[in-house]
Amino acid sequence: MFNISESTNSNLKQWIITLIIIFIIFVLVLVLTVKSGKKTNKPRKQSKIKEMDIDPISLKKASEEALNMATDQMISKYKVQFDSQLKMNMLQLDQTFRTSLESITKEFGKSLEDFRVKSQKIAEDTQAKMLTSSTSINSATQEAVSAKKDEVVKKVEDRLNNILVSYLNNSLEGTIDLNDQEDYIFEKLEQNKAAILEDIKNVGV
């Protein structure tokens, strides 16, 4: 855009200069025409004018035509220049646009790739964390379930034992005569004699 403005201003200046030149030429032609008119006051020259039978209006018209022609030529010339400049600027603009587009596309592509890589990394990290969390949660859950199971089993076991012992106590209380246990007791004592001996042997008077 800057190039176009600069080019347009330059053309405008050229145009103005051209118009000024045309105007100066026109003034010079006019002055020369007036001077030549004054000279016709001289008798010899006056006769020549008369001989030539030049019409001042025609001269003015011719001058105008000449001016118009020069103007048209200038216009054509600068139009061509303007078109050429415009084409060149358009090409430059197009080139700039293409370059910019490529650059933007490239930059955008790079940013997009960076974003994709970062997103992928974040996704992978998140997945890994989720996997770790999931594993630890599973492990913790299993441990908790196992602990709870053990606790429940222990409670049930203790209660069953208590129930069993209470039942046996109530059922057998006083019914098993000590004398009937004599053989059992002495058999057990004999089996554990070594352990008992350690504590009470060689102690005393």
């Binding site: 076991e157 034992n161 012992v165 098993i176 000590l178 352990a195």
Partner: protein, 159 residues
């Protein structure tokens, strides 16, 4: 004057309470003898009455008894109190004398001076729990039943 030396406690004497009873009897007998001797010295004619041995004493002295033996016995009984081991037996019911004597005899084969205390606890259902100063040996029926926890746990784990 012969020396009196205990080779072991009689099987009928099992616990501390009996030992203290014996010492108490010996003290009163010695005291009576000293009183008679003091009276004799003072010119009062006094005679030591025949000592009626309690049943427990008969386990120590079979035929005759000498006064110095009583003093020696007392010293040895005091030594037993201070140094002999005590075994506490927990049984599910009150034992008969025969059973008790058999238990004491069995323990005295290990240490002839061991003292035996008997406790009754019906919750053990049967068997015996033997406790010394250092350890506790549970030979009761209830411990046998409670000892099968693993089998109960195994069944519960498979539920």
């Amino acid at each position: 004057m012969s020396e009196y030396k205990l080779k072991g406690l009689p099987k009928q004497i099992s616990n501390l309470a009996q030992i203290y009873q014996l010492i108490s009897f010996i003290d009163s007998a010695i005291s009576e003898k000293r009183s008679v001797e003091a009276a004799n010295k003072a010119g009062i004619k006094a005679k030591i009455t025949k000592i009626e041995l309690p049943e427990m004493m008969q386990y120590f002295f079979e035929d005759s008894i000498e006064w110095n033996h009583l003093s020696e016995l007392k010293k040895q009984l005091e030594a037993i109190i201070s140094s002999s081991p005590t075994v506490t037996l927990t049984l599910s019911g009150i034992p008969s004398n025969k059973f008790k004597t058999k238990m004491v005899s069995w323990l005295r084969t290990i240490n002839p001076f061991v003292l035996v205390e008997i406790i009754v606890d019906e919750s053990i259902i049967g068997g015996v729990i033997l406790k010394t100063d250092k350890k506790r040996i549970d030979l009761s029926i209830s411990s046998v039943l409670l000892g099968n926890k693993d089998s109960i746990k195994g069944i519960l784990n498979n539920v």
